[in-house]
Symmetry: C2
Subunit: 480 residues, 2 copies
């Protein structure tokens, strides 16, 4: 990215990745040569070249940012990935593991010994170890616990105890605390005695002798204020105080809304527990968006793109099974009307149109509603307004598209009644789609379920079976 790209349309892959692949190819080509040569004589000329190649690869690799190493590993097929992984220095192992996706992390951890895994955690903070913990073997976690000092052991235990989507899971313990009755000059001298400040330190946390949280001293205020002033006179109240049991999404909303860099986490008695920083929140937002996209497409979780076939099958079979059930139901609905279809075979050709457009329209409604629910834009009073609006939209759409389809039907089959049935079926199925497109997510929410999950499958099932039933039913009553 340091090289500006003239052509915005194409993203060039970042050059570290290309360079690693180049070095890897060079190494592997010569490796082939070495193997050939080994068969002929035992000369060590080539294998010394090879040692040099490997050293070059390793040197280049280990001066990269751990996030870049992780990115390169994600993009490599398993064999190459493990070769590169074996070249990463032990002190980077932990950071790299943190940056990889769950699926790729599993392939890397499987390749490491218990001893290596424990060593990798030595360079991590306790909240980071907690993030890795679900992927580590049980005895590795036990060893890690044993290797920690008492205070950190308690932190790790706490961090591991919070559920995945809670503020506690996003929290770290890198807080600098100060007292309110000291002068800013003392604070500045205190900071100068530290070797470095934790990343994302945009504020210091003011606590009293009982660790009760009193407020924050913004670094930006510290820098512009007279050093003779007291902390108490410069400190501000935190915009938001998070609690470890809060839903992580609420923290993300707060960071987005108030443009925060860090926020305090306190317990019920206002004791300061830790903080959440913006980089963790970005990762959370990304992961959440990703997971929603994957779920919508019927994938249970993110997939290592080079995963073995059977692993991928396992990741995908769940949604296919559910869709198969709904497809069967739709098929049996059609089965009810086999006599009608036998009499007028055009029905078979036309019915998927009614079902298909109904599904599309229903998914539009449901996406609107799910989004408005996530943004907390729907209040009890407005639900009714929304329903009437969606019904209105579907009536307009139904009449408009229904008329076009009816006209086409008449043009193809020269059957005016059939055209009229198409129009009617279209209007009714779009109405069904609109009503259930509003009711399904609102009901899921009322039941305490995530309205984003499964709404789309449900509405498609309804508009498929419903569309076939409405169209074939109308045709049976009025045409045959």
């Amino acid at each position: 990215m340091t090289e500006t790209t003239e052509n915005n349309a194409s993203y060039e892959p970042p050059s570290p990745q290309q360079h690693i692949i180049f070095l890897l190819r060079k190494y592997k080509l010569v490796e082939g040569l070495v193997n050939l040569q080994d068969l002929q004589d035992k000369s060590h000329t080539v294998s010394s070249v090879q040692k040099q190649n490997l050293a070059e690869l390793q040197n280049y690799l280990n001066q990269l940012h751990p996030a870049d190493i992780a990115h390169i590993l994600e993009a490599l097929p398993l064999e190459d990935r493990l070769l590169i992984w074996s070249l990463v220095k032990a002190e980077h192992d932990g950071e790299v593991l943190l940056e990889t996706s769950d699926a790729v992390r599993a392939t890397l951890i499987t390749d490491m010994g218990n001893h290596e895994l424990v060593a990798a955690t030595e360079y991590l903070d306790t909240d980071e170890i907690a993030d890795l913990a679900p992927d580590l073997p049980q005895n590795v976690i036990a060893d890690v616990f044993r290797s920690l000092p008492v205070e950190e052991r308690e932190q790790l235990r706490a961090a591991m105890s919070y559920p995945e989507d809670s503020v506690g899971a996003l929290m770290d313990f890198d807080v600098i605390t100060i007292r309110e009755d000291v002068r800013l000059e003392v604070v500045l001298r205190y900071l100068r005695r530290l070797e470095e400040l934790p990343d994302h330190t945009d504020q210091l946390f003011v606590v009293d002798r009982n660790e009760q949280f009193k407020g924050v001293l913004l670094i930006n205020r510290l820098l512009v204020s007279d050093p003779e002033m007291l902390v108490a006179d410069v400190m501000t109240a935190e915009i938001i105080k998070l609690h470890p049991g809060d839903v992580a999404q609420q923290a993300a909303n707060a960071f987005e809304r108030y443009d925060l860099v860090s926020a305090s986490v306190v317990d019920d008695t206002d004791k300061l527990l830790g903080r959440v920083t913006v980089n963790t929140v970005i990762d959370f937002i990304r992961d959440k968006a990703e997971n929603e996209a994957l779920n919508l497409a019927g994938l249970s979780e993110e997939e290592d793109i080079f995963a073995p076939v059977l692993k991928s099958v396992k990741n995908r079979w769940g949604w296919l099974a559910i869709n198969l059930v709904t497809a069967f139901i739709a098929s049996r609905v059609i089965g009810l009307f086999e006599d009608s279809i036998e009499k007028l075979v055009a029905l078979a050709a036309l019915m998927p149109i009614v079902a298909g457009i109904g599904g599309n329209s229903g998914n539009q409604t449901i996406t609107m509603i799910v989004r408005a629910l996530a943004l907390e834009q729907i209040t009890t009073g407005s639900a009714w307004k929304l329903l009437t609006k969606e019904v209105g939209v579907s009536l307009v759409n139904g009449l408009m598209w229904g008329t076009i389809i009816g006209a086409f039907t008449f043009a193809i089959y020269q059957n005016a009644e059939l055209g009229l049935i198409m129009t009617m079926a279209m209007v009714l199925n779009l109405l069904l789609a609109a009503i259930l497109g509003v009711l399904i997510p609102l009901t899921l929410r009322k039941l305490g379920r995530d309205p984003a999950l499964g709404s789309s499958v449900m509405i498609t099932a309804v508009t498929d079976s419903g569309g076939f039933f409405i169209f074939l039913g109308l045709a049976t009553i009025f045409l045959l």
Copy 2:
């Protein structure tokens, strides 16, 4: 959020919103009373109560964060929204407009006079005015230009010139620059003379006399270093230097990967132009994820949930039209086989299963590939590996689900050959879905198009028409 919620499953709407709605209801109820009373006598008792109600509403509203006001406006039907909007103080107008979604912003701007709009921009930075500019009437923009000092006028012109998805569009001009040949103590004294530092100032930018960018002085390093040291000895190279023409997504990737709070933007000659901050990046990531979700569902853009019916119809008709075309094509494919269906009507009931599962499976593949492309995980060498993997997955899925469906078909229709045809059609349609699921996004990318856009519609069109053709074709050849 300051009140911890015991029950994580249900998000409570934040209390400011509930309180505003409560005050609004109170006001409107009494408003009804006033109108009644006005008919009877001209006593002013009730309307003085009413003035008090309005004042209470206004006071409460104007002590809220602009982002919270924006959020409340989004959730109100048009009439209430405009009532509340009229109570927001002019100095908050600009900030609130920045925080609302495009659709809701339009409803608010329509309600404002030109004079009010120009006044609203007075409290904004130039980069923020540029964000609003596309929604403002032409003559308002001209007035705003006239009201600005020369330097800011140039900044605004520059900011408005960058395309929407470029780094330039995310950039602001709030940089504090320092020279490298001064001592840290001087820097600290210089900062103390400022009233406040710009938000998200985690680093100062070191430039020479020609505004050439030399590096950054991290605030965290400034605080822990000996004040006698020179800036040159403490400053660091920027991890990443952005250019205004870079794709915004690249900046977002860099922020996510390197956990940045701010990053410098330079021109081709390394002159410092401005910076990008993490809050802008979060908004970009959210908007992007949102837009992808909306596009997937067939909505052209975000919709004000209280938009009038015809406006919503306009937002949705595009994708419905495209889907109608693909549905028509599928319908004509079925039409080719009307003779076969007439002979064996079970075909009509079974064909949607083949098409449906093919569509689901194809969408799984395409989501995988689009995601891997976005994360730059696919290199030229690995495309072939991906194709063979997806074909493998589809063969396993096809044989597994195909056998189940074949068995069901046999159970229902007592026709073994029909069951076998179902299994074969299933395997072939899933193969088609896998191959095109890989090829469609890779081809769109090769052509310089966004692979996320339209891939899903295309694969569904292929698996629908393809599924009907394969199944009915096989049946016609082998059964009839």
